[in-house]
């Protein structure tokens, strides 16, 4: 008797729940369509890499060329030489980025030693500002300070150190280092914020205990502060290895000129130049396709390594 009454009720309840769960899905569906259009649909564009695509034509009107563009990239010595040069720049910039990735950590550790609160806060605030301006503005700043009629050259000439203006921007000397320094100027303070936030919640008792035991300042920094930050550092390091091929193009695009092109052209910039500059759509697609596949593989490798050694995935 009891069962007979509750059974249909339960059924309608179940159905209602099902309707509701589908309604929830329908509410997010429009956004999923956006995701599909802007993230998945472009993958179909990879097919352009196998055609000889010429823009006003439709893809179906173009010749299917198979692996031609991939072969072309490694085909003649000139092309190989250029590709090697581009990769050299990419590796150099990413490598320097990884080498200097300890600096934000050091920044945080040393700033943490400063006890004056307002000073600490002021430094933190002012050094993060450059992170929030665009690379164009960074270049504008660079231009007004370092161009041949810029502030630095004026000062150097007034002091009698140089007679002719030094061309800081229109030269190819130390391009890699210069780019790294601009990157640091923009990103160092911001990079330290995450570490500083981690330290803000740090346990003070450990320090006191160690101090009572007679540990000096550097010992405290090395044995207590740094270990607290290492997990964060490790995750960021892994991410930067996964992003080894992607330097982004904005910085290099804006700072590049005919003088420094040899040392500033990273992969992303090269892809842009090939695609938009010389309108070789198919070749550009072939390149970005290879880059994407290698990047995803790298991310997978790094993530697996992280799982094996730390028992935690990074994504």
């Amino acid at each position: 008797m009891d069962k007979a009454i509750t059974a249909p009720k339960a059924k309608s309840k179940k159905r209602k729940a099902k309707d509701q769960s589908f309604k929830y899905f329908l509410l997010v569906a429009p956004f999923l369509v956006l995701v599909f259009i802007f993230s998945y649909l472009p993958l179909y564009g990879w097919s352009y890499a196998f055609f000889d695509y010429r823009p006003p034509l439709k893809l179906s009107q173009c010749e299917f060329v198979g692996w031609k563009w991939f072969k072309y990239l490694f085909g003649n010595p000139m092309q190989i030489k250029q590709l090697i040069n581009v990769l050299k720049n990419t590796f150099a910039m990413s490598g320097l980025g990884i080498l200097t990735s300890v600096l934000p950590l050091a920044f945080a550790v040393f700033l943490n030693e400063i006890k004056c609160k307002w000073f600490k806060k002021l430094v933190q605030t002012l050094t993060t500002i450059p992170n929030f301006i665009s690379w164009i503005l960074v270049y504008s700043v660079a231009f007004s300070l370092f161009s041949s009629s810029g502030m630095v050259n004026h000062v150097l000439q007034d002091l009698g150190i140089t007679t002719d203006a030094i061309k800081f921007l229109e030269s190819d000397s130390h391009t890699w280092i210069t780019m790294m320094l601009w990157g640091l100027w923009k990103g160092l303070g911001w990079g330290a914020i995450m570490y500083l936030a981690a330290l803000a919640g740090a346990d003070q008792e450990q320090y006191e205990a160690a101090r009572v035991d007679g540990a000096g300042r550097f010992k405290l920094m090395w044995h207590i502060t740094v270990p607290q930050l290492l997990p964060t550092y490790f995750v960021l390091l892994m991410m930067s290895i996964a992003n080894f091929l992607s330097n982004g193009m904005e910085q290099y695009f804006i700072f590049s000129n005919s003088f420094n092109m040899q040392h500033i052209q990273v992969l992303d910039l090269y892809i842009y130049k090939i695609s938009m500059g010389s309108a070789s759509f198919s070749l550009g697609t072939a390149l970005s396709m290879m880059k994407s596949i290698i990047s995803v593989t790298l991310l997978w490798v790094v993530n697996t390594l992280s799982k094996v050694f730390r028992g935690e995935s990074i994504i």
């Binding site: 729940a17 769960s21 589908f22 309604k23 929830y24 899905f25 509410l27 997010v28 999923l32 956006l34 995701v35 259009i37 802007f38 998945y40 649909l41 472009p42 993958l43 564009g45 990879w46 352009y48 040393f110 400063i114 000073f119 002021l122 430094v123 605030t125 002012l126 500002i129 929030f132 301006i133 665009s134 690379w135 164009i136 503005l137 504008s140 700043v141 007004s144 810029g150 502030m151 004026h154 007034d158 303070g189 914020i193 936030a197 981690a198 006191e208 101090r211 009572v212 300042r217 964060t232 904005e250 804006i254 892809i271 695609s275 938009m276 550009g284 697609t285 970005s288 994407s292 995803v296």
Partner: protein, 311 residues
């Protein structure tokens, strides 16, 4: 009791300041002061040079304090053809883009925290995984062409609406709050949309503020989308216009010629030069960031903290 003795012992120890400590502190402070000045001085330099007399500025003597104050640069620059249009576009994309991204992130973050959704896990992954791959420049360009989004204002807005990282932030935030509020509202018969608008939006204000600020800064600073998708001058953003001014001497020369009439007769102190225009536009572009920054700073930190917890 024992804690008390500990602290006194610690205090006693702290009072002994050694020469090493003092020199460490001096060097430490000095390094931070120098780096902070390096970070800030360029902005100061730009500002003082745009408000000083242009002939002094051209001679490179304005390095520390402004001299012979004048604001003619700003008055003239706003008359430049294209500048106010570009400012409108930039403002427009900041306002509309930020609103869309923030609301969409809030809604999606909330919806994906609902266990009941049909195939929730699958759709969540479907969205999140897009953070890690990228079809590339040309495939994206072709999609925009096919959707007729090139040379359209919406190319600035639509691709940015769904941002997986922001959605994860909101989802994490909402899941950290107890679900009893929602249950209570459900018992009262409130629908999912009502719960979102009445309860979840107000509750997740802090995280939404963070997302809004990041998205606003991103929209203001964005440059690459104009470079790739836009050829129509009416849709140039301020950043792109600044890029044109800095990189293409011809653009600037044209602008100055068209502005020439009165400026040609003006005296040297207020006469616009290529440099003065570049600097003034730079200050205009950087000004909103500098103004908003002190108020927004704490939200930046919150955002990055929640992000790092997620790992």
């Amino acid at each position: 009791m024992s804690k008390e003795t500990n602290t006194t012992a610690y205090k006693a120890k702290k009072k002994k300041i050694t020469v090493g400590d003092i020199s460490f502190n001096i060097i430490n402070y000095a390094v931070f002061i120098i780096f902070t000045i390096i970070c800030i001085y360029p902005f100061y330099y730009l500002i003082i040079n745009t408000i000083s007399s242009n002939d002094l500025s051209n001679n490179g003597v304005i390095n520390f304090l402004p001299r012979k104050l004048q604001f003619e640069n700003y008055k003239q620059v706003f008359k430049l053809s294209g500048l106010s249009a570009a400012a409108t576009i930039s403002l427009g994309r900041v306002v509309i883009g930020t609103l869309c991204t923030t609301l969409a992130s809030a809604f999606l973050g909330f919806m994906f925290s609902q266990q009941k959704m049909w195939m929730r896990k699958f759709w969540y992954r479907f969205m999140c995984i897009t953070m890690y791959f990228n079809a590339g420049l040309i495939p994206m360009y072709i999609i925009m062409l096919n959707l007729h989004l090139n040379n359209s204002f919406w190319v600035y807005i639509l691709p940015a609406i769904v941002s997986p990282f922001n959605i994860i932030l909101v989802k994490t935030y909402i899941e950290s709050i107890s679900s009893s509020l929602q249950e209570a509202a459900e018992i009262d018969g409130a629908g999912i949309v009502t719960i979102f608008v009445r309860i979840m939006l107000p509750i997740s204000k802090p995280i939404l503020a963070t997302i809004a600020i990041f998205s606003a800064v991103g929209q203001w600073n964005s440059f690459q989308d104009t470079l790739i998708y836009i050829t129509d001058q009416k849709l140039y953003s301020l950043q792109y216009l600044l890029y044109k001014y800095i990189n293409e001497a011809s653009t600037l020369a044209n602008v100055m010629k068209s502005n020439g009439g009165a400026a040609g007769l003006a005296n040297l102190a207020t006469k616009q030069t290529a440099t003065s225009i570049k600097m003034t536009v730079s200050v205009i572009v950087v000004f909103p960031i500098l103004m908003v920054y002190p108020f927004a700073q704490r939200y930046f930190t919150t955002g990055i903290m929640i992000g790092s917890v997620k790992g």
